[in-house]
């Protein structure tokens, strides 16, 4: 199995502070990969480096075998990598439908077209409706995204990430702040919408992680100290010492 996403010795510093200190990681196609680690380990920063929100200080990130370091977020997206955010990051004054529709436009090739009526594009409508159904927001179609409940906004957040049909999906703490019931639903949702795709997620909730992930990497102080199957990670002494010991509920 070839690696769809690979990081080679990636570093990131903010001023004198090194946040990511040499991360090397290969994620094969179709894998569900979770990144865990204590607060401040640099998990979200790592996502920002992969998705192009921050430039890396050194090292290479490759997608489908081609380097994407230094590319703009939209260029990386166009190569098939899409992501969600830890802090809900949606279009608050657009309706749910509009939110999703915006996220499918590029993938369906409409780009910057200012000569086509968007309401009459059947493919766009159908795809957007399908996405809304899959994230369970059809009922809330015309509600402004800003007034949705928190869980609904999180679902929309995931919806925006998957709507374009990218084959590599990065989810940054998709269940953050959810109740247990809500996060069980979220796991179900994530499972269905990422069917057949490569998923990389940052997650704190260990039940979510162990329920979803094929493989887990443990990030501590900007370095991956272990990367293995859930079972192996559970039994890894270093991980236990560095992290799991305190984090498991």
């Amino acid at each position: 199995m070839s690696a769809v996403l690979s990081l080679a010795d990636v570093h990131k510093s903010f001023g004198p502070t090194a946040i990511i200190r040499g991360v090397t990681l290969n994620v094969p196609t179709g894998e569900r990969h979770a990144i865990i680690g204590p607060n401040g380990a640099g998990k979200s920063t790592l996502f920002h480096l992969i998705s192009g929100r921050f430039p890396v200080s050194s090292g290479t990130v490759s997608l489908h075998g081609r380097p994407i370091t230094g590319l703009k977020p939209y260029e990386i997206y166009r190569r098939g990598l899409s992501r969600s955010f830890q802090v809900t990051n949606i279009f608050p004054r657009l309706s749910v439908y509009e939110n999703i529709r915006c996220a499918v436009l590029w993938a369906l090739g409409y780009k910057y077209a200012f000569w086509l009526g968007v309401d009459a594009l059947r493919s766009v409508r159908e795809r957007a409706e399908a996405v809304m159904t899959s994230i369970g927001l059809t009922r809330r179609r015309d509600v402004q995204a800003g007034v949705l409940t928190y869980a609904e906004q999180r679902a929309l957040e995931i919806g925006l990430a998957i709507a374009g049909g990218a084959d590599v999906i990065l989810l940054d703490e998709p269940t953050a702040g959810m109740s247990r019931g809500e996060s069980e639903q979220a796991v179900q949702l994530i499972r269905t919408v990422t069917q057949g795709k490569t998923l990389i997620m940052v997650e704190h909730d260990m039940s979510v992680v162990f329920g979803l992930a094929d493989r887990i990497s443990v990030l501590v102080y900007g370095q991956i100290i272990a990367s293995d199957t859930p079972r192996a990670i559970r039994e890894n002494a270093a991980v236990r010492e560095a992290y799991l010991g305190q984090a498991v509920h």
Partner: protein, 439 residues
């Protein structure tokens, strides 16, 4: 509805109504000045809508939009002169298209520099580019004609179907026709993939980058299209006045279009139309009534920014749900109650401004008698001042009191009406800052 059609048949009714109104208006108001004013309104509607493609639709605050209006006007006036001189077979109604293309060209030129960033930085750059062009206009004399500008004679062009476009009525219809096309086109653009992405960029530029869109490209295209429509407006102004001078591309003109769009309401497509009509009307007529009209203008603008950031259109649109549910009537008593002290406060403020304006500007030559509100007051005596202050103070205090009933009436109407979940276009809050402080 065919795949990709921008407007459905059902949504055509308002356009037919608009076209009818444009055609019939001169029948009702045929005096020369109404025609002049309506022509001007038509031009300003296009200009203000083009401005709102930036501010309202894409969240780009420009302080230099008149550059494209003015430059295109100059190109248009040179084109008219060249066509007349060389007897080319190009009739007058085509000139606005030339202006539009000129606006587009300048939009591409300056837009490539200024749209790299959004938010406040963009605003500053437009200001700088505006000053640059305005200052250059007095240096490049052969193109701008110095401070006296360039004139043309529109009747020297090839007549079209026997129309020579001398009389104002023919110009009115020319402007009305172009205004109709431009309004329709700009509305249509808001209903396209690009138009929706403009809104997305306005709402959350960062996220737009993560769903595949370059915000810079979206801003750039919006900027160029806005330049195109501003160019149409500028060319129509050139045709209407038969003169362009450097004032048309200066900071004052840029400020005016911002005022129009914002007072009208940038959150709704038709807001700037309202603003263009109102501001043009006030500009032309208010100066007959008071020398302090610019001050009123500034105050009106500040009041709108502070208390009705959705502009007049936004305020009107708030009543939509109540109107649909037939509960508008419940608001009226509260409004009537609040209107009285509000009018008192306004009258007090106007009195103060008029008294001050008269005493400071005119009293040395005119004496201290001030004509205001159909009466004559003596600005040298303290009583009118005290009365005005009292009006303002008491009015303001009572307005605050009366706001309670208005608020509770609103609450009642809201509770009874369906929740506001109409199309997001009806939002009344101006777009939040775009990348002001990069995180």
């Amino acid at each position: 509805m065919s795949e990709g059609a921008i407007l459905s048949w059902r949504s055509w009714a308002p356009w037919v109504a608009l076209a009818l109104a444009l055609v019939l208006l001169p029948r009702l108001l045929s005096s020369g000045s109404s025609l002049t004013m309506m022509s001007l309104m038509g031009i300003m509607i296009i200009f203000a809508l083009s401005y709102n493609m930036l501010l309202g639709q894409t969240g780009m605050l420009s302080f230099g939009h008149a550059v494209y209006y003015g430059l295109a006007g100059f190109v248009a006036i040179h084109a008219m002169n060249a066509i007349a001189q060389n007897k080319w077979a190009i009739p007058l109604p085509v000139i606005p298209l030339i202006g539009g293309l000129a606006g587009l060209a300048f939009g591409i030129l300056f837009g490539s520099v200024s749209t790299r960033r959004g938010g406040t930085v963009f605003a500053m750059i437009t200001l700088g580019v505006g000053e640059l062009v305005a200052s250059s206009s007095l240096i490049l004399r052969s193109f701008f004609g110095g401070e006296s500008g360039i004139t043309a004679n529109r009747t020297k062009l090839m007549p079209l179907f026997g129309y020579k476009f001398g009389p104002q009525i023919e110009i009115y219809y020319l402007i009305a026709g172009w205004a109709f096309i431009a309004i329709l086109a700009m509305y249509a653009i808001t209903r396209t993939p690009f138009g929706r992405m403009c809104n997305a960029v306005r709402e959350n530029p960062e996220r737009a980058e993560f769903i595949g869109y370059s915000t810079q490209t979206v801003r750039f295209i919006a900027f160029c299209l806005a330049g195109f429509f501003a160019g149409i407006a500028g060319a129509l102004a050139a045709i209407n006045f038969e003169i362009m001078n450097a004032l048309s591309l200066g900071a004052a003109q840029s400020g005016t279009v911002l005022l129009m769009a914002f007072i009208g309401g940038i959150g709704l497509f038709w807001g700037p139309i309202l603003g263009a009509i109102l501001v043009t009307f006030l500009q032309v007529t208010l100066s007959d009534l008071t020398g302090a009209w610019m001050l009123y203008f500034g105050l009106l603008f500040i009041l709108v920014v502070m208390f009705a950031p959705g502009g007049i259109a936004g305020w009107l649109a708030l009543h939509g749900p109540a109107l649909r549910s037939g509960r508008l009537g419940r608001l009226l008593p509260a409004y009537a109650l609040a209107a009285v002290p509000l009018a008192m406060a306004a009258a007090g403020a106007i009195l103060i401004v008029e008294l001050a304006h008269h005493m400071l500007v005119k009293a040395s030559s005119d004496g201290s008698l001030v004509h205001v509100f159909f009466t004559t007051l003596d600005g040298a005596s303290p009583w009118p001042w005290l009365a005005a202050l009292a009006l303002l103070g008491v009015g303001a205090a009572l307005t605050r009191l009366a706001w309670g009933p208005v608020r509770s009436a609103w609450a009642a109407v809201h509770a009874a009406s369906a929740p506001v979940d109409g199309p997001a276009e009806a939002a009344v809050v101006p777009p939040a800052a775009q990348g002001v402080l990069p995180t």
